[in-house]
C-alpha cells in the first residue's frame, strides 16, 4: 500500500455497549488506519456524545498525543448542558489537535433550528471552526431523526456564512439527501460526508453528479461501521482521480484545517 494520505473525517472512539465491536480502541484504530492508508482521522468519543464536552474531550487531547498527531478531535456541544460544554470548548480551542465542533440534534433531543444552538454557531464563527453535525432523513422507525433533517440547519447556515458545516451521512437514506444537495448548491459553507450505513445504490455517483466534489468528505463512522465499507465505494466508483483525491483527503484538510 502507498504512503498513507487518506483522511477519515468522521469516526468515534471507545466501546458502546449497544453493539459488539471486536476492536474499538485507539490501538486497533491506528492499526486499521495503517492497513488502509489512512493518515489522519477526525473523531469524537462516545462519552462526549452523552455528556457533551467535558472529561471525554480531555481524553481526546491525550488520544491526539498518543496517536502521534494522527487523530484529531471535535468538541461536542450538548444543548442541554450548554454552559458547561462551552466552558470546556473555550479551553480546548487552544489545545493541539482540536479541529472543530460536533452537534447531534437527534441524539440530544433538541431540534437543529432551536435557539439554544446559537452559542455554538457564534463560537465557531468567531474562531474559524467547522461544525460537524448528524443529519438524516425523516424515519418511520426513528422519529428523533426529524430533529436533524438538513433543512433545519438552514437558519444557522444562512446566519453564519463563514462557518463550514458538514452535514454528516449525506442526509441519510431518504429524502434528506435532496435537501443536502440543495443546501450545498445554495451555500458555499455547506459540505457533506459519507460516513455511516448510507449504503444506497450508486450513492457516490449520485453525489458527484449533483454537487461539486469539493464538497464531499470521506468518513467511516468507526466503530459503528468498518471504514472498509465506505472506502471501497470511493475507490471503485467511476470518477476522475482529482475528485477522488479531494474526497479522500483535500476537502477534510480544507474544512477542518488539519494535517498542516
Amino acid at each position: 500500500m502507498s504512503t498513507p494520505r487518506i483522511i477519515d473525517a468522521h469516526l468515534h472512539l471507545d466501546p458502546n455497549s449497544k453493539f459488539y465491536t471486536p476492536e474499538p480502541q485507539l490501538k486497533h484504530l491506528l492499526k486499521l488506519m495503517d492497513r488502509l492508508s489512512i493518515r489522519h482521522a477526525v473523531c469524537t468519543d462516545h462519552l462526549s456524545m452523552y455528556e457533551g464536552a467535558g472529561e471525554g474531550l480531555r481524553n481526546l487531547k491525550s488520544v491526539y498525543e498518543e496517536s502521534g498527531g494522527r487523530v484529531y478531535y471535535l468538541g461536542v456541544y450538548h444543548p442541554g448542558r450548554a454552559a458547561a460544554c462551552m466552558k470546556t470548548i473555550e479551553e480546548a480551542v487552544l489545545w493541539p489537535g482540536f479541529a472543530g465542533l460536533k452537534i447531534h440534534p437527534s441524539f440530544h433531543g433538541i431540534s437543529a433550528d432551536a435557539p439554544v444552538y446559537d452559542p455554538v454557531w457564534k463560537f465557531a464563527s468567531e474562531h474559524d471552526l467547522a461544525i460537524l453535525t448528524h443529519s438524516w432523513s425523516v424515519s418511520d422507525y426513528n422519529p428523533a431523526q426529524t430533529l436533524s433533517t438538513p433543512g433545519k440547519f438552514e437558519r444557522y447556515i444562512d446566519k453564519y456564512r463563514n462557518v463550514r458545516l458538514v452535514l454528516a451521512h449525506a442526509g441519510g437514506r431518504g429524502n434528506g439527501r435532496h435537501e443536502v444537495i440543495r443546501l450545498i448548491n445554495q451555500y458555499e459553507n455547506v459540505y457533506t460526508d459519507i460516513a455511516g450505513d448510507i449504503f444506497c445504490y450508486r450513492l457516490i455517483e449520485s453525489l458527484t453528479g449533483s454537487i461539486s466534489p469539493d464538497k464531499i468528505l470521506f468518513g467511516s463512522d468507526f466503530p459503528w461501521l468498518d471504514p472498509r465499507a465506505n472506502l471501497a465505494r470511493v475507490m471503485l466508483t467511476d470518477m476522475d482521480n482529482s475528485s477522488r483525491e479531494k474526497i479522500l483527503r483535500e476537502n477534510a484538510l480544507k474544512v477542518y484545517k488539519i494535517g498542516k
Binding site: 471486536p22 486499521l32 492508508s37 450513492l203 466503530p223 472498509r228 471503485l236 482521480n241 477522488r244 483525491e245
Partner: protein, 270 residues
C-alpha cells in the same frame, strides 16, 4: 502527483475486485419496498449492472414475493428463468406447506422444484406466520430433501425462533441475511447462534460492523460468510470493500466472494 497516487490506489482496488470473481446471492428484481430513493432494476439491464460491480453470477430474487405474494414473485422468476444469464439462478419465495399454498413455488406433492431454483426465502413477519417447527416443519423437510438452502432476512424473524429452527433442523442450511437493516445491534445474538449452530451462515450486504469479517473467519471459518449485495437497493461496493481489504487469507476472501455459495448450490439436487 496526488492524482497519480489516487489513480494507483483506485486501480489496485479494481484489480482486486475483479480477482474476487463475485457470485452474488442477493440480486433483486421488482419494485423495492421501504427505500424511498431505490429504483427497480430492469431485467434487460441486469448484466450491465452486474458487470459494473464486478459480479460474475448470482441468485435472483423478486420483490413481489414479499410485497404482494409468494406466487407473484415466483411466477415472474419462472417466466424469466429461461432468459437468465449464464451462472444465474433463482431464490423462490416459500410459505408454510399447511394449509397448502397454490403454486408456482415450493408446493408439497407437486413434483420437483423448478430447474432454476437454488434456494427458498421466507418472510414470516410480512406473511403473518411464526417460523417455528410446527408451522414450517414440512417446508424445512422439503428443503432438506433437495439440499436447498433457506434464506431469511433477520428483520423477518426473531432470534429465539431462529435458534429453535436451526437446532431442530441441523442439516438445513440457513443463510441469515443482513437486510433490511444492518446487523449491528444484533451481533451478540448472531455470533452466539453461529457458535451454537454450524448450519447458520450469514449474507454480507449489511454486515459492516468494525472487524466483523475477520472475527467470523477466525471464530467460525470463511465458509460461514456468503457474499450478497442487495442490489439495486444497496451498493454492492460495500460488501466488496469489506472483503478486498479484510485482514484474512486470499483463499478465505475467495470463499466469501463466491466459493461458499457455489459449493452450496452445487449440492442442490433437483
Amino acid at each position: 502527483m496526488c492524482e497519480q497516487r489516487a489513480r494507483k490506489l483506485s486501480d489496485d482496488y479494481r484489480e482486486r475486485a475483479v480477482q474476487l470473481n463475485i457470485f452474488d446471492c442477493s440480486i433483486w428484481l421488482g419494485s423495492p419496498e421501504g427505500f424511498p430513493l431505490a429504483r427497480e432494476m430492469l431485467f434487460k439491464k441486469l448484466e450491465k449492472e452486474m458487470s459494473d460491480f464486478f459480479i460474475t453470477g448470482g441468485l435472483i430474487s423478486h420483490w413481489l414475493g414479499k410485497t404482494l405474494s409468494a406466487q407473484a414473485g415466483n411466477r415472474d422468476l419462472e417466466e424469466k428463468a429461461g432468459m437468465f444469464p449464464e451462472n444465474m439462478y433463482g431464490i423462490w419465495t416459500g410459505l408454510p406447506f399447511y394449509p397448502s399454498p397454490s403454486g408456482p413455488g415450493p408446493v408439497p406433492g407437486k413434483g420437483r422444484p423448478h430447474r432454476s431454483m437454488r434456494g427458498v426465502r421466507i418472510f414470516p413477519a410480512s406473511h403473518n406466520y411464526v417460523p417455528e417447527e410446527w408451522v414450517i416443519g414440512t417446508l424445512c423437510e422439503w428443503l432438506i430433501r433437495y439440499n436447498l438452502p433457506l434464506f431469511i432476512w433477520h428483520t423477518e424473524i426473531n432470534w429465539p425462533s431462529l435458534h429453535r429452527l436451526a437446532v431442530c433442523y441441523p442439516s438445513l442450511t440457513i443463510i441469515v441475511e443482513t437486510q433490511t437493516k444492518k446487523i449491528l445491534y444484533h451481533a451478540r445474538m448472531l455470533f452466539t447462534l453461529m457458535r451454537e449452530c454450524s448450519n447458520i451462515l450469514v449474507e454480507t450486504s449489511n454486515f459492516s460492523g468494525q472487524g466483523y469479517i475477520e472475527y467470523v473467519v477466525k471464530e467460525f471459518g470463511a465458509e460461514r460468510l456468503i457474499f450478497g449485495s442487495f442490489m439495486p437497493v444497496n451498493d454492492p461496493l460495500v460488501p466488496t470493500g469489506m472483503i478486498i481489504d479484510a485482514d484474512i487469507e486470499e483463499k478465505d476472501k475467495l470463499l466469501i466472494a463466491s466459493g461458499s455459495i457455489k459449493r452450496i448450490i452445487e449440492e442442490v439436487h433437483l
